[in-house]
């Protein structure tokens, strides 16, 4: 079957845009996993709740950027509360118990959203609605803006980890929790803050993504699966790897949807994951382990 070049280009842009949102979701997840060995099953629900907070604040203030900030802050607070109440008591136990606990959290949050907001999809209006001509399509500027904003947030996180004192503390805690504690780093605070930051990133991506599909209580489910795939393919706890994997997998899915329906295109990412686990279980985008 012949695929015209313009369609291929459009799918490339689509893939990069979704890839950047996915990277934003996954970098929160990978930050949490890499630093505290917690597999956060509730990450998709934080994404979804962030989008809902965005809907509410946007309705109240009419300003998309205030909504974005408010959602991030509020969900960061929620993340801290979740960490303190359910995950801190599990410190030192098998990482699998954290999957169970956060699975419980995701059940509660998802049904809370269903109860509060109902099953009907809500809409977030995009902050600007311009289009530009891309072959036969009117491509919205907002989609490109999402990709840039996601990149900016991830870049900000990277700078924060690299240069701020708190970032140094976080990296020290990743390398050796006990030693970091001995050096006077407030490890319990660092862990709480990391979970809050991860939650805030999920919330931010939820608000950014909201205008594209609408906000509903189960929107987190698709993303959590994809984010897991990305985190494993990129190498657990490897920030750069999961960003590369996000874009790689989103591109593959975008190309696959030229031939099959988008619902089936997700199988491509499943297959990438399984092949990765079989042949390169440490992740596709990390240097060969010694």
């Amino acid at each position: 079957m012949e695929i015209p070049l313009d369609q291929l280009l459009i799918q490339t842009i689509n893939g990069i845009v979704t890839g950047m949102i996915l990277a934003l979701v996954a970098s929160g997840l990978t930050l949490i996993f890499g630093i505290m060995d917690v597999v956060n099953f509730a990450h998709g629900e934080l994404f979804m709740l962030g989008a809902y907070v965005g809907v509410i604040v946007l309705a109240a203030t009419g300003n998309f950027w205030i909504a974005l900030m408010a959602a991030s802050l509020l969900i960061a607070l929620l993340g801290a509360v979740i960490y303190l109440t359910t995950l801190r008591p599990l410190l030192g136990r098998d990482p699998l118990t954290t999957i169970l606990a956060t699975f419980g959290v995701s059940l509660v949050l998802q049904n809370y959203a269903l109860w509060q907001f109902g099953p009907v999809s809500r809409k977030i209006t995009e902050p600007f609605s311009g289009h530009f001509a891309l072959f036969y399509l009117d491509y919205p500027w907002y989609r490109l803006a999402i990709a840039l904003l996601s990149a900016a947030i991830i870049g900000g996180l990277w700078l924060f980890l690299k240069f701020s004192t708190f970032g140094v503390w976080i990296r020290a805690t990743t390398q050796d929790r006990v030693m970091a504690q001995a050096m006077g780093i407030p490890v319990p605070w660092v862990l709480t803050a990391v979970f809050a930051i991860g939650a805030a990133m999920a919330a931010a991506s939820g608000v950014l993504f909201g205008p594209l599909v609408g906000v509903n209580p189960t929107m987190g489910l698709d993303w959590i699966l994809k984010a897991f795939i990305v985190v494993v393919v990129g190498g657990m706890g490897n920030l750069a790897g999961s960003i590369a994997a996000s874009i790689f997998i989103s591109l593959l899915e975008a190309y696959a949807s030229l031939w099959v329906s988008p619902a089936q295109a997700i199988i491509v990412s499943f297959i990438v994951l399984i092949l990765t686990l079989l042949f390169r279980p440490t992740g596709l985008f990390v240097a060969t382990p010694k």
Binding site: T86, N111, L114, I267, I274, L277
Partner: protein
């Protein structure tokens, strides 16, 4: 001491089974149905306990085996007329076992969280296939069919009422329990438990660990498939919702609530969860999962060994 343990164990089991046999005769229709359903979900949970509790592998993909059991039975009931019960069971089990063999071959090469995630992803692959292959599986709507008669060819044929269905399910679950118990106490089961305790040492002794794991996943998938067949018989439909990973999550919840490594515990966990759900759904209607989720989290934190965890050693003697 040993004689006394055996006496108590078998008397206790006999009393519980007698109560379950009597249940459909005294309970109203709604509760009769619920008890049957508890037994079916209990069987699913028990099958996954063989992996979680005895081999130390947490499967997040049991919905695939359960669902394939359902669709396998549905296929036989729709394709062959007149519908035959035993053919449905056979096709359901074959479908589940084939999928389990496929999943086992790939996923057992990985351990811990990676095993959990791989099984999760495999079950989602089957979900997507079933959900989108509308011509064969009915897609989102699933398949509906009529229940076959409980027949032994050439001897008797009685239609399934809710009471006979209950007894049939009870017999299947009891038999499965006895087989699984025998498996866990056999030399094979001992090797599984030694894999759970120390995989590297088991391999060093000379056991082909991968092969044992593959067989464990296949056996587990077979019993999960049986649960799927029974559920299809009870509800007369097969739907993609039951292949979705949330069902696998619930299976793990039953295990954790009831106590892993006890076989009976997961059934108790399923009973506890479903009764809790019934109770809460009266007050919270469809949002019952909020209190249930909170109780589950509390149990993970405070009672990690589960309701029957205290009796674990005793039940495995």
């Amino acid at each position: 001491m040993r004689l006394r343990h055996a006496t108590i164990y078998w008397t206790g089991s006999a009393v519980i089974i007698a109560l379950l046999i009597a249940a459909p005769l005294v309970l109203p229709e709604f509760w009769r149905r619920l008890v049957t359903e508890i037994l079916i979900w209990g069987l699913l949970a028990m099958s996954s306990d063989l992996l979680i509790g005895y081999t130390g592998m947490v499967s997040f993909g049991h919905s695939a085996f359960f669902g394939l059991g359902m669709y396998g039975a549905a296929a036989a009931l729709l394709a062959v007329g007149p519908p035959s019960l035993w053919l449905a069971i056979a096709t359901g089990l074959i479908a589940a076992a084939a999928v389990a063999a496929f999943v086992a071959y790939f996923s057992t090469r990985l351990r811990d969280i990676y095993f959990a995630i791989t099984t999760l992803i495999f079950s989602q692959i089957f979900y997507v296939i079933i959900f989108t292959w509308t011509e064969v599986t009915g897609g989102e709507n699933g398949l509906t069919f009529s229940r076959p008669a409980l027949a032994i060819p050439g001897l008797v044929s009685i239609p399934f009422t809710s009471a006979t269905l209950h007894w049939f399910v009870l017999a299947a679950v009891t038999l499965s329990y006895l087989v699984l118990r025998r498996i866990t106490q056999s030399p094979f089961g001992m090797v599984l438990q030694s894999i759970r305790e120390n995989e590297a040492r088991t391999r060093a002794i000379g056991y082909p660990v991968e092969r044992y794991k593959i067989v464990a996943v296949m056996l587990s998938g077979l019993f999960a498939g049986l649960a799927g067949v029974l559920y299809a018989l009870q509800n007369r439909f097969a739907a993609p919702d039951f292949v979705f990973f949330v069902v696998s999550g619930e299976t793990i919840i039953y295990n954790v609530i009831g106590g892993v490594g006890t076989l009976i515990g997961p059934i108790v966990g399923a009973a506890f969860f479903l009764l809790l759900r019934e109770g809460f759904s009266r007050f919270f209607t469809e949002y019952y999962l909020i209190p249930v989720g909170i109780i589950f989290m509390a149990m993970v934190i405070f009672v990690p060994q589960g309701l029957l965890g205290f009796a674990r050693r005793w039940l495995n003697e």
